[in-house]
């Protein structure tokens, strides 16, 4: 029991990273903006968030800085796309490269070369009376505040998209921007908002890497997880409730593959490291009927 509880506890940490990042991607995707810059945003925010937290001594300021950095990237993406109708994909890849450069440069300018890494302040931990003691359940409820933020963000996104009119309208943009436009919805403004809000969630995921998980910055810390998040958003059919599921499944398999590596002696360890990626493909094959794309994702919209 204790083993399962601590296993879940560990899985939830990575779930948080994947879920927040893929939520960020799917929120803008719901308005038709395919944000593939996740990797770059996570890196830049990991750096900016850490630096802010370290310099201010406040985890909260750190996460805010991460979110702001994300918002900045979202703003660039939305602005260049909406103004010049430049292909979203190419912008995303540019921003990946931009972010990976910016992250190290910021750190280099602020911290420089040191023999021991600076450390971020501790993040607020929240335990819930009683529930955080119950085996298994406590694996979900014995975490830092960002894990709870991730629950809240997922729920809010679901509520927003499926229980509010503005959410319905936002989904309409993703399916058919013209349909939204002709009923008087400001497509461009919604796309800006969604991209900026989404990107700041990705930014928080990036800051989570440094402020909460490693407590310090190291180059290339996201190591491709921003691209994984794109995969999870697709896997989730761009639905918040499935993004958290996808994040959890992927983190689960990732954590489990290390357990399996310890247990097994015969199989080369590289195959355990491949396991999460193979599993996602297999899961997608099995559930192929349930994978959908908002029709306008990736496409520019202009009236004339």
């Amino acid at each position: 029991m204790a083993f399962i509880t601590s296993f879940i506890e560990s899985v939830l940490v990575y779930t948080t990273v994947y879920t927040l990042a893929s939520l960020g991607i799917l929120i803008s995707g719901r308005t038709g903006i395919f944000n593939v810059a996740g990797e770059g945003i996570m890196l830049a925010s990991a750096s900016a968030g850490f630096l802010a937290a370290f310099l201010s001594g406040s985890w909260l300021i750190g996460f805010l800085a991460g979110a702001l950095m994300g918002a900045f990237f979202g703003l660039i993406l939305a602005f260049v796309h909406e103004t010049f109708k430049v292909n979203q994909f190419i912008l995303g890849i540019c921003l990946v490269i931009f972010g990976s450069g910016l992250s190290d440069l910021l750190y280099k300018l602020v911290i420089g070369v040191r023999l021991s890494a600076p450390i971020a302040p501790d993040t607020l931990r929240i335990t819930i009376p009683f529930l955080s003691k119950v085996p298994i359940i406590s694996g979900f409820l014995n975490h830092d505040v960002i894990v709870y933020f991730m629950y809240a963000a997922t729920f809010t996104a679901w509520w927003f998209f499926y229980r509010t009119k503005i959410g319905l309208e936002t989904r309409a943009i993703g399916e058919n921007p013209k349909a939204a436009d002709v009923v008087g919805i400001n497509v461009s403004r919604r796309r800006y908002l969604a991209t900026i809000i989404g990107s700041s969630l990705i930014g928080i995921a990036g800051a989570y890497l440094t402020i909460a998980i490693t407590k310090t910055y190291s180059p290339d810390i996201s190591a491709g997880r921003g691209f994984m998040a794109v995969g999870i958003a697709i896997f989730a059919s761009w639905k918040p409730q499935r993004a958290i599921l996808g994040g959890f499944i992927f983190a689960f398999i990732e954590v489990m593959s290390f357990q399996l590596q310890i247990i097994s002696d015969k199989i080369p360890y590289q195959f355990f490291l491949m396991l999460p990626f193979i599993s996602i493909l297999v899961i997608m094959v099995v559930f192929k009927k349930h994978i959908e794309f908002p029709a306008s994702v990736g496409k520019p919209y202009s009236r004339e």
Partner: protein
């Protein structure tokens, strides 16, 4: 600028090539410090390239050669192929490279630094077998490379020499620099009962601190290259320290004196190029003293640590 450098072509200049970021507070940082110290000691000009990809190494080396750098410190064994390929064509340039075993023949313009990872890990292995309460020691490596195998074998030898019942579980995360994967691996080891983690990853270490701190029972860890006490003061034991300044400074002096080739084995012992960090944190005085004794015995040759790089012995 590049062109201005043509005017002082006779001055000796040293360049270094680093695989990662010099701010990693780890392997690349100590390489960078070695470069600076060597250049300062001899009063020569220095330059470096960081984050050099393997396919770019040959080009970077040649560019430094074309810019009249006469000493090139190649920090990272992945570049040795490039250095070996370039070296014969530029007999006037001397290369400093890092290896884990002495090659059969020495190239006339290459200095070889032998890194000897295994000796230090013997001491860490002894420390771990004294400190563990669960009898389970975890080892986290990036990839299964010869020097990593040497480390695992040395730890196992130390456990045996201590007549300990402890067992060593080792795990590879596929990447020396991915903190999240290292953390997941540590969590895996801890859930199997490990209470000591011997880390042989680089940036991956940053994932370990959180893992041990958040463990629900006390877990301790050791690291490599630099002192990392501040990262996890309550869980940190010691580190297998490297001081590349000693060999690089020494070799650069010899090169300037005209010795263009040679083999430099990084010696183990207090104040030497390779050493164990003392005092060990979070252990009793008796363990501290016992481990210190072992370290001295290794340094003096009283304890012979076997160097087995080819495979992990069972």
């Amino acid at each position: 600028g590049e062109t201005e450098e043509g005017t002082d072509a006779w001055a000796i200049k040293i360049a270094a090539v680093f695989p990662g970021s010099i701010q990693d507070a780890d392997y690349n940082t100590i390489g960078y410090i070695a470069l600076q110290e060597a250049a300062n000691a001899e009063g020569i000009k220095s330059a470096y390239s960081e984050k050099v990809a393997v396919p770019d190494a040959e080009r970077v080396l040649k560019e430094y050669i074309n810019a009249d750098f006469s000493i090139i410190f190649v920090h990272g064994a992945q570049f040795n192929g490039a250095a070996a390929k370039v070296a014969p064509n530029y007999p006037d340039v001397t290369f400093i490279i890092e290896v884990d075993a002495k090659p059969d023949t020495l190239s006339p313009n290459i200095w070889y630094i032998e890194r000897n990872y295994y000796t230090g890990f013997y001491v860490l292995g002894a420390l771990a077998s004294m400190k563990t309460e669960t009898g389970k020691i975890g080892f986290i490596g990036g990839l299964e490379l010869p020097f990593i195998r040497g480390e695992v074998n040395a730890i196992n030898q130390a456990i045996k020499d201590q007549n300990s019942d402890a067992t060593l579980e080792y795990i590879f995360v596929g990447d020396f620099n991915d903190p999240l994967k290292a953390r997941q691996a540590a969590e895996g080891l801890m859930s199997q009962g490990a209470d000591i983690i011997i880390s042989a990853v680089n940036l991956g270490n940053f994932g370990l601190y959180g893992a041990v701190k958040e463990a629900n029972k006390p877990v301790f860890l050791t690291t490599t290259y630099t002192d990392k006490l501040t990262q996890a003061p309550d869980n940190y034991l010691s580190s297998d320290l490297f001081n590349f300044s000693i060999p690089v400074k020494g070799i650069v002096a010899k090169i300037i004196a005209g010795e263009k080739s040679g083999f430099w084995s990084m010696e183990y012992g207090e104040g030497k190029a390779r050493s164990t960090q003392f005092p060990i944190s979070n252990v009793s005085d008796s363990i501290n003293a016992a481990v210190k004794q072992i370290a001295e015995d290794v340094a003096s040759g009283k304890i012979v640590v076997e160097k087995v790089l080819g495979e992990v012995l069972q």
